[in-house]
Symmetry: C2
Subunit: 148 residues, 2 copies
């Protein structure tokens, strides 16, 4: 069904949650998981590639937690997805024609390459800051404030 894995979706949501609290203290894994309805232990595994990619930073001990390694404005959705999923090319032969016997004369390869490009572009266009704004707008709409 060409559906993105939970890895990609959860990682994105987790980072989004962090961006919503960018200014405050580090967020506990527990808090992120709860806020986004993700298994704590599973989410924990996703932090590994995210830290590796220098998108996320963890602090141990009391008052520890996680925080964005860069300003939300500088983190594209693409970076997050690539961090946990690897390259975005739909097929290996898009990057390395050698792995496909048919590569020299395969029109399908070109098409999948163009689709890969389209996906990459769409994910590159949106930053965590954009998502944060969308999120806040949506929340304001969905849960109208009752104050005066």
């Amino acid at each position: 069904m060409l559906k993105p894995s939970t890895r990609a979706r959860y990682a994105l949501r987790a980072m989004l949650e962090l961006s919503l609290h960018e200014a405050t203290r580090p967020l506990l894994l527990r808090e992120i998981a709860k806020a986004q309805c993700i298994s704590e232990k599973y989410l924990e595994q996703l932090t590994v590639p995210l830290r590796c990619a220098r998108l996320l930073r963890g602090r141990r001990g009391s008052n520890g937690g996680y925080e964005l390694a860069k300003p939300a404005k500088e983190i594209a959705a693409r970076e997050i997805v690539e961090a946990v999923e690897g390259r975005l090319d739909l097929l290996d032969c898009v990057r390395m024609p050698v792995v496909c016997d048919r590569a020299p004369a395969c029109a399908a390869r070109g098409l999948w390459g163009r689709v890969s490009q389209a996906i990459t572009a769409a994910l590159s266009e949106t930053t965590l800051a954009d998502l944060r704004e969308e999120q806040r707008l949506a929340e304001a709409k969905a849960v109208p404030s009752y104050e005066i």
Copy 2:
């Protein structure tokens, strides 16, 4: 890895093969499978949704085989992929926000929606006729003619 299934890839290649022989007699399943290195019995299953979507027509009995149900120029890659994979939306909640509890205030949904759109657009832009041309150009390049 967000890789398209063999269903989508095989279906596309099979239809491409058919487009390469559009003018001639119906092509045998066996011939398509062999030309594209696809398991015959597996490819056979893919013909079901393709026929259902009115992209492919089969003729039984001697001198039977398969042929495109429409001119190659009128078949977009998107139709083929959608026929065998279902809707192209990456997530169900993109079309039906109701299935996701978080939908009312979920910025991720918007992003995945835009990615879905990008994929759909890329696949809509290319027709079987385009692919056929690309294929022929690539073949001419890869296997230079030794005549004259």
